[in-house]
Symmetry: C2
Subunit: 555 residues, 2 copies
C-alpha cells in the first residue's frame, strides 16, 4: 500500500454559490502535487461588503505551495469560475488550461492586467489529455448556459475523478455542445472514484427544460410587440443572446447590442467558432435612424446592476436611445437571490415611462443553466461514482445533495471550503482543516475580509462618524476648546441645539473636570473623549457614532 | 354646481409597498376638511438607508393643515398601516379611530411613546358610523392576514368612496371575519363613486387560497416530525399562529412562544376576543424540562431579521433553547423581496446544525393575505365603482391594476404619492402635485430622506473616511506636520508603505509648496488638502475616500 494520497480541497464554492476554487492533490502528505480547478469571483453587496469591487477566494494556502502547483484548469467562462484568474496570476504563476472559448475570455482578462496571454493554453475536448504531474486531465463537454462548459476528467494513480463543473442535461442547447449520454457512459464505464458535482438546483424538483424551448416563445412575444423591444440576459449565455437576436431578425427588427459584455461575448463566440452565425448588428448611432418598431436591443444588466445598460435605459437615455410608452422590456433571465431590489427598481422606472415589462414569472422566456434534482440523478446514474462530493452550493444545497446521494446508495460527502478530503482509501475521510476565507478586491488593493476595514465602513454607515480635535499646550492643558466635525449624523436632536455645539460643550466640560493625570495620558484622554461623545450623542440623537479622536500636543 | 370638491391624496403607499398614508378631503379648494386613512411605516435597508430605524411618510403637508384634520382612521394593525401613529401624533393631534384589535395594538404604541391612550377610540364594524366633518365613515369587515382588517366606507356629499384597505377574498379565514359577499353587495348597491384598492398581488394570476387550506398540511407535517419543531410566521397573522399551535397541540407537543411580538399579538387577540381560545402555552424555562420531540416553538423572524428569535436560534441558543440535528424549522411565510439574503443566511446556519428547513417552495404551508388578480376582480365586480384608484403597490402594480380596471370598463386612475385627485366631477382629474417623501426615524431623531445625512453614511461605507488635522501658527504657517487618521481603508496600497505615511508625506509636501495666500485662506486650504488626499489615495489604493479636514489656527 502506497503512502501517497489523493486529496480534494475546496477553497471556494463549497458553502456559497460563487468564487469557485477547487484543489486536487496527489503525493505524500504535505508534498502532494497540486492542480486547481477554476478560480472565480463572487460579487459584493452593500449589506456585507460595501465599497468592495470583487470578492476572491483566499488562496494563501496555494500561494505557500506555489512550487507544488502543476496547473490551473478553467471549466467555463462564467465569472464565478474564471473571474479571479488574472487577479491571482502573480501569486500562482502556474500554467492555465482552458478550451478555446473560455481561453479567449481568459486571454482578454490576462492582457487587461498586463499578464502574458500565453500563460493560458487552449486545450481540445476529451479525449485530448493534459499531463500535469501525477494527473492526466481532459475536458469533457457538457451543456450549460455558456459555450464549451466542461467537466474535468481527472485521472490519478488512485483512480478517476469527475469534476462536473456547472452543467445541465440539455440535448438541444442551441449554441454549444449537447449533453452526450453515450460519451459520458463511455468515459465512466471503468468506474469512477468520485463525482464532484454541481448542487445549485438540488431543490428544484421538476426536470430541467432545454434551451430550445424558449426560442418559439420569445419569437411569439417579439413578433406581437408594437414598439421598440429591449431584452436582457446574461451576455455569456450566447445561445440565449442568439435566440433573442434571431427572434428580432425574424420580426423584421434591426439588432443593436448595448453594453460592453454583450459585444465582447458575441465577438468571442464568433471568433472561436462556437457560434457560426449571428444576425446583422447595427450600431446605436445607426439605430437612431430606424423606426422604433423595427428595433430590437439586446442589453446587459439582467440583475439590475446600476451601471449596466438596462439600468441606464430605465433612468433615461443610453447612447442616444430612450424607451417610451408602448415599448417592451424583456427579462430573459432570472433574478439571483439578493438582486431583487435592483431589478424591481428598474421595473418600476420602466413602468413610470409606460414601458411594458415582461419577466420570467410565466416561466416561458428563461430556463436555468443548472441541473435540477432529477437531472442530477441522471448524472449520478451515468457516472456511478463510489463517492459523491457536492460542490457549487451553499451549505443547504451541499447537505441536500449529499442526502440525495446517500438515498441512492452512493456515499455522499459534505465538504465545505477548507475541508481537505482524503479520497485514497475505501472510505473518504477528512484529512485536515485549512483556514480559508474571502479576499476583497477594494479599489486596486486586495484585503482580507476579516481585516476590519469593511467592518469599520459598515459601522460608519450604521452610526455616522464624529471627529474630535483637541490641542494640548506644553503644560498638557487644553489650548482653546475641543472641536467637533460630524459626517452622516443629524444636525440637531432632543435639545434642538446644534448637535456639534452640544458635543463640544460636553467635551469642554469633561476636559475642565479632568485631572492632570488624565490630560497627560494619551490613552486615557482618547478613551474619555470618545466616551463623552458617544454618551452625549446617545442622549441627543439616540445613536452612538464612530469616533476619531485627534489630540495634538504642542511641544 | 357646488364649488366644493372631494379630493384623494396619497402621501405614502402609492408607489411602494409600505408606509401607507392616504388623505381624503372635502370642501372649498384649499379649505377642505380632511381625514387620514392609515399612518404606516416602511423598513430601512442597508442599500438605501443604513443605520435608519424606521421610514415614515413625510407628513409636512398634513402638519401645515393640522386645523383641517378631522380624524385618523386605521384599517388594520400591520406596521405598514399603523406603525407611524405614535410617531406622528405630536404633529397631528387628531382623534384616531380603529376597531377593537387594531386599537389594542395602537394603545400599546401610544403608551410606549407617552401619548394618551384615549386619543385612540374603538369603533364597531359597519353599520356603525363616525361623523367627521363632512364625512361619515364606517369600518366594513374584510378578510386579510390579521384580525379585524377593514375597508373604509367613506360617505361624502359627493358620493360614497370605498377604501379597500389590505384584503383577500377568504370565506374561511380561521381567526377573524370571513369575506361576506352579501354584506358588500348591500353596501355598494346604491353606487360607489370610487374604489381605492389594494394592488399588491395584481401580478398573481391564480385565485388566492384560503387560510383554511394550510391547516391540514401543517398538521401532517408536524405530526410526522421527529425532533423539536420550530415554526415562524408574521406574529400578527393570528390565524396562522393559532393553526400552528393547534397542529403542535394535536401532535402532543407543548407550545412555546418566542419573541416579543409573538406573545403580544396572541395576548391582544385573546384580550379583544377576536380569538376565542388558544392551546396552552409553556415558558422557555418550562420547555427545558420537556423532551424535544414534545415541543413546538412559534417564533418571530420570518424575514430573517438579525435580532429576531429565528436568527438567534440559527446562530446558537435563545432563552436556553438550542436546535439540533434532526429538528425541523418551518417557514410558514413567504420572503418579502429584499429580505432573501437574511432568510437564506439563517437557512444555511440551520443546515450547518443539521436542522431540516421546510420553506414555502412547495406552496403548502403559506397563503398570501392579499387578493390575487381574479380576487381583485371579484371586488371590482361587487363594488362596481365609477372609478378605480389602485393603491398599496409599487408603480408597476398600480399601473397594471389601472390597466385591469380599464379593460373591465371601469375608469382606472394611476395616482402616485403626492398626486392630488379631484373626484368631484364626472371625470377624475389631477388637482395638484404635492411634495412628498420619506422621513427617517434615525435613533431618536426624525430626519428628511434627502437631508444628506444618510447619503454621507453611504459614501463613507463605499469609500472609507480620512481625517486630516493641520495646526497653523500665528504667522499662518503649518506648525509641525499634517496628521492623518483613517477609518475603513486598507493600511497599505501600491507602494507597500503605510497609507497614512504616504498621505501625510504628500500633504506635507503640498503645504510646503503652497503660497501664503492659500495658507491664509480656510476654503483654499481645505479644498487643497482634500484634493491631495483623494488623488494620493486614488494612486495608492484606487479609491477616493471621504475626507474631513480640521484646520486649527492658533491665535
Amino acid at each position: 500500500m502506497s503512502s501517497e494520497r489523493l486529496i480534494y480541497l475546496p477553497l471556494g464554492g463549497a458553502g456559497e454559490i460563487g468564487m469557485n476554487a477547487y484543489v486536487y492533490g496527489y503525493g505524500k502528505p504535505g508534498k502532494e502535487r497540486l492542480i486547481v480547478v477554476d478560480l472565480g469571483v463572487a460579487f459584493p453587496d452593500m449589506d456585507g461588503s460595501p465599497g468592495v469591487d470583487l470578492i476572491l477566494p483566499d488562496i494563501a494556502w496555494l500561494k505557500e505551495r506555489r512550487d507544488q502547483i502543476e496547473a490551473v484548469f478553467i471549466t467555463h467562462a462564467h465569472e464565478d469560475h474564471i473571474g479571479a484568474v488574472a487577479h491571482t496570476y502573480d501569486m500562482l504563476r502556474a500554467p492555465i488550461y482552458a478550451r478555446r472559448f473560455t481561453a479567449n475570455i481568459a486571454h482578454r482578462k490576462m492582457s487587461e492586467h498586463g499578464h502574458p496571454e500565453d500563460a493560458v493554453s487552449v486545450v481540445g475536448a476529451y479525449p485530448e489529455q493534459i499531463k500535469a504531474g501525477p494527473f492526466s486531465i481532459s475536458f469533457l463537454p457538457i451543456s450549460h448556459s455558456i459555450p464549451e462548459s466542461s467537466a474535468m476528467v481527472i485521472d490519478t494513480p488512485a483512480g478517476r475523478v469527475i469534476h462536473s463543473g456547472d452543467f445541465k442535461i440539455d440535448t438541444t442547447p442551441g449554441v454549444g455542445e449537447a449533453y452526450d449520454a453515450d460519451l459520458w457512459a463511455e468515459v465512466c464505464k471503468d468506474g469512477v472514484k468520485a463525482l464532484v458535482c454541481d448542487s445549485t438546483n438540488v431543490f428544484s424538483p421538476a426536470p430541467g427544460r432545454s434551451e430550445a424551448t424558449v426560442g418559439p416563445e420569445i419569437e411569439k412575444l417579439v413578433s406581437s410587440a408594437e414598439g421598440m423591444v429591449v431584452a436582457t440576459t446574461f451576455a455569456s449565455n450566447v445561445a440565449r443572446v442568439k435566440t433573442l437576436a434571431v427572434a428580432g431578425d425574424k420580426a423584421g427588427r434591426s439588432i443593436v447590442l448595448l453594453g460592453r459584455a454583450m459585444k465582447r461575448m458575441v465577438e468571442a463566440a464568433l471568433e472561436t467558432g462556437v457560434m457560426k452565425d449571428f444576425p446583422n448588428v447595427i450600431s446605436p448611432e445607426e439605430a437612431r435612424a430606424v423606426p422604433r418598431e423595427n428595433l430590437m436591443l439586446l442589453v446587459t444588466g439582467s440583475q439590475g446592476e446600476r451601471r449596466a445598460a438596462s439600468a441606464q435605459l430605465a433612468r433615461g437615455k443610453y447612447q442616444g436611445i430612450e424607451m417610451r410608452e408602448g415599448d417592451m422590456f424583456l427579462f430573459s433571465s432570472k433574478t439571483i437571490p439578493g438582486n431583487e431590489r435592483g431589478v424591481i427598481r428598474i421595473i418600476n422606472q420602466f413602468s413610470e415611462k409606460g414601458v411594458d415589462v415582461v419577466d420570467d414569472s410565466s416561466g416561458l422566456y428563461h430556463v436555468s443553466g443548472h441541473a435540477n434534482r432529477p437531472d442530477l440523478e441522471v448524472l449520478h446514474d451515468v457516472v456511478k461514482p463510489q463517492v459523491l462530493i457536492p460542490m457549487h452550493g451553499e451549505h443547504r444545497h451541499l447537505r441536500e445533495h449529499a442526502k440525495l446521494a446517500d438515498a441512492k446508495g452512493i456515499k455522499g460527502v459534505l465538504a465545505v471550503n477548507g475541508m481537505m478530503i482524503d479520497l485514497s482509501g475505501n472510505e473518504p475521510k477528512v484529512a485536515e482543516y485549512i483556514e480559508t476565507g474571502r479576499t476583497y478586491l477594494d479599489g486596486s488593493v486586495q484585503i482580507g475580509a476579516l481585516d476590519g476595514v469593511v467592518r469599520d465602513r459598515i459601522r460608519m454607515a450604521l452610526n455616522g462618524h464624529v471627529t474630535v480635535t483637541v490641542i494640548m499646550d506644553t503644560d498638557d492643558e487644553p489650548l482653546g476648546d475641543p472641536w467637533v466635525d460630524m459626517m452622516g449624523l443629524p444636525e440637531t436632536g432632543r435639545s434642538h441645539a446644534p448637535l456639534v455645539d452640544v458635543l463640544e460643550e460636553d467635551l469642554r466640560q469633561w476636559l475642565g473636570r479632568s485631572k492632570a493625570a488624565t490630560l497627560r495620558d494619551d490613552t486615557k484622554l482618547h478613551d474619555g473623549l470618545k466616551r463623552v461623545v458617544r454618551q452625549s450623542a446617545q442622549d441627543e440623537i439616540g445613536k452612538k457614532p464612530e469616533v476619531t479622536i485627534v489630540v495634538s500636543r504642542l511641544s
